[in-house]
């Protein structure tokens, strides 16, 4: 709304100036003046609508993540298209629901985890993405869906404090759950996402079996019981990436689950933190469009632009979340050293479990309720 308003304001100023000039010319110009004013108004109205179409409003998670997105992707992509982009932060898919259900108009698109997008899509609050416009032919399979065009791949890892454990931190989930070998305080997420998996992996369940087992009630309880067994050592249940990064920076806990990119940024800022991709659980993040978004069509084109490898390559320089577009790895866009540090690099990806969106679509609510129950015990 803001740019449109300011344009209207400018317009009326221009209008007033011209009217003034016309007045000087005298009464007989009255008719001409009226015609001119009308014409001017028409031009202004056209200009305003054109302007609105040329601007897009996107929301994301703030912090180091959005900073990387903004510098690497949002702004350069908008510049290339000759449009402006207005950024803001939001609180997650429930904000999208709130906006759509209340008929609000705050943003045209959002950055979101694949799982949240999928559930939003199932709720009917998102626009279906048009893959005839968005080119995903070079993307890693499974990193796009009807409602979410994947842009980066991140990993949930076990990070440890190098002051406490040096180089010999928990390099497997078994280590993370072993409070005798690795005494110290832990943190886990206050939401269930990518947490139950860690318990089963710690129990030695092969990756391919994890979601099969979690799909049974016993399997889910087995994972929860495993977390229960170390609950006394879990000092904090984190609620955001910023929080778990801060926990490590401040040395508040000795190890935590969390997103690899946040730890790399924290490390760059001097935090004593390390992690091993052998504990990684891969998931991806992308862009979605709320149902009835004002600039839906422009949004589609904007997403298509943002999918280009050069933006993704620039993004990873700021935060180590791997590109979904495989072209980004080609032509030296990303240095070899940086590429090797990304979750989606083949050397890293091979150790990792890929988070199952299907499982979450089916079991999220029940798992979340049980997880909360476990937390409140």
């Amino acid at each position: 709304m803001e740019p449109k308003n300011s344009f209207d304001f400018d317009g009326s100023c221009v209008n007033a100036d011209i009217v003034e000039v016309l007045n000087v010319k005298g009464e007989k110009m009255k008719k001409v003046k009226q015609i001119l004013s009308l014409a001017l108004m028409g031009v202004l109205a056209f200009g305003a609508s054109a302007y609105a179409e040329d601007s897009i409003r996107i929301v994301s998670w703030g912090g180091a993540y959005q900073k990387g997105q903004s510098i690497g992707i949002f702004q350069p992509a908008a510049k290339a298209m000759g449009i402006t982009v207005k950024e803001d932060t939001y609180g997650g898919i429930s904000d999208v629901k709130l906006m759509v259900k209340s008929g609000g108009d705050k943003f045209d698109m959002f950055s979101s985890g694949a799982g949240s997008c999928a559930s939003g899509g199932a709720e009917g609050i998102l626009e279906k993405l048009d893959y005839s416009i968005i080119d995903v032919s070079n993307h890693i399979p499974g990193t796009w869906s009807d409602y979410c065009a994947g842009a980066d791949i991140f990993s949930v890892v076990a990070a440890w404090n190098t002051d406490t454990y040096g180089d010999n931190g928990p390099r497997s989930w078994a280590d993370f759950y072993d409070v005798e070998k690795f005494p110290g305080t832990r943190a886990m997420r206050s939401k269930v996402d990518a947490q139950l998996e860690t318990a089963l992996l710690a129990d030695g369940v092969p990756m391919s079996e994890v979601y099969n087992i979690l799909s049974t009630e016993e399997g889910m309880d087995r994972a929860l019981d495993k977390i229960r067994s170390i609950k006394d050592h879990i000092a904090v249940w984190w609620t955001s990436g910023a929080m778990h990064a801060q926990l490590m920076k401040d040395g508040e806990v000795d190890m935590t689950t969390g997103w690899n990119g946040r730890f790399d940024v924290a490390k760059r800022d001097g935090a004593k933190v390390a992690y091993d991709y052998k504990t990684g659980i891969m998931d991806w993040e992308g862009y979605g469009i709320p149902k009835g978004a004002k600039n839906k069509d422009l949004g589609m084109k904007y997403i298509a632009e943002m999918m280009k490898p050069e933006y993704m390559a620039e993004f990873v320089k700021h935060i180590t979340y791997g590109p979904t577009n495989t072209k980004a790895y080609e032509g030296g866009l990303i240095s070899d050293a940086l590429a090797r540090s990304l979750p989606s690099h083949p050397d890293n990806a091979k150790h990792q479990l890929l988070l199952s969106q299907d499982w979450y679509a089916k079991y999220r609510t029940i798992a979340a309720e049980k997880y909360t129950e476990m937390m409140t015990e």
């Binding site: 898919i93 629901k97 401040d250 979340a368 309720e369 909360t372 129950e373 937390m375 015990e377």
Partner: protein, 295 residues
């Protein structure tokens, strides 16, 4: 002479009186409307939404869910426990502080009051994070205690119940102090003097005269603090470290989890009903009209 059955101007004066009352009603009408729009309708809507299931039809699923998982009852117990303890801490700190302020000359009391109110001007989030910085494992307080070798291991002040209580009590304290201060200032100083002249030691005079007279202000403060605590979100989320889950936090996460207002509304309804019940019982235990005549 006046006509039969009427005195001079009787009818006209009565009409004037009626007119005045009507005008008064007319003046209050917009506010009555506003109150019903801002309070009654939303609460009614909340109740209605709580009976809407995920598929959009009338259902009790939002309530049965609360019985299925023990988490909900635990969250309510935590909510009331934290609110009660915060209120208690506020009373224990706030009462002596307010008493002290009420005994100061007005000028000094005013300066103290500014001290009490300054935190109001800072955002709740900032104050909450400030506590985190002070109290965390490598925070200011722990470092200080370690430096002076008062403790050998850092004390866990935050990411637990105690941290939540510290933060909440700090934020809630002014809400107790303000009504209590107004009440204490209105207590006739001569009443306490009278007690002393009649032979009461200072502590006896306090407990038999001043304290009973300050109860209305204290209760008002306690009530405000308790009720406000029930809806706390940010402070327990930040300082509780996930170990303190209060109703408001669950309401928020349920919206995300179920994508329906019903799942969250039902929690709100239960919170509202339980709160009303507690206040009702409390009002039975402490007779309201007794409070009001105490002035």
């Amino acid at each position: 002479m006046a006509t039969v059955g009427a005195h001079l101007n009787e009818e006209a004066l009565k009409r004037l009186d009626r007119q005045e009352r009507f005008n008064l009603f007319g003046l209050t009408l917009p506010y009555l409307g506003l109150v019903s729009i801002l309070i009654i309708i939303p609460i009614g809507w909340l109740f209605y939404m709580s009976f809407i299931g995920r598929d959009g039809t009338l259902s009790f699923e939002n309530y049965t869910r609360m019985l299925d998982s023990k988490a909900y009852i635990r969250i309510f117990i935590t909510t009331f426990k934290i609110s009660f303890l915060t209120t208690l801490i506020c009373a224990l700190i706030g009462y002596p502080l307010t008493y002290f302020m009420s005994q100061l000359p007005k000028k000094w009391a005013g300066i103290c009051m500014i001290g009490v109110l300054i935190p109001f001007w800072t955002s709740l989030l900032v104050r909450t994070y400030a506590w985190l910085v002070l109290l965390q494992k490598k925070g200011l307080l722990n470092n200080l205690l370690l430096d002076f070798q008062i403790i050998a291991e850092p004390i866990k002040f935050v990411h637990n119940t105690s941290g939540t209580l510290i933060g909440m009590a700090h934020i809630m304290l002014p809400f107790l102090i303000l009504p209590l201060y107004a009440n204490m200032r209105s207590i006739d100083k001569d009443c306490v003097r009278a007690a002393a002249s009649l032979g009461a030691t200072p502590s006896r005079a306090f407990w038999t005269v001043f304290f009973p007279l300050s109860i209305p202000g204290l209760l008002a403060g306690l009530l405000i603090v308790f009720v406000l605590c029930l809806g706390f979100y940010v402070t327990p989320a930040v300082l509780g470290g996930g170990r303190v889950i209060m109703a408001a936090m669950k309401i928020s996460s349920n919206i995300e989890l179920y994508f329906s207002w019903g799942a969250a509304s039902a929690l709100g309804v239960v919170l509202l009903v339980v709160t009303m019940a507690i206040l009702f019982i409390a009002s039975r235990l402490v007779s309201i009209d007794q409070i009001s005549t105490r002035g």
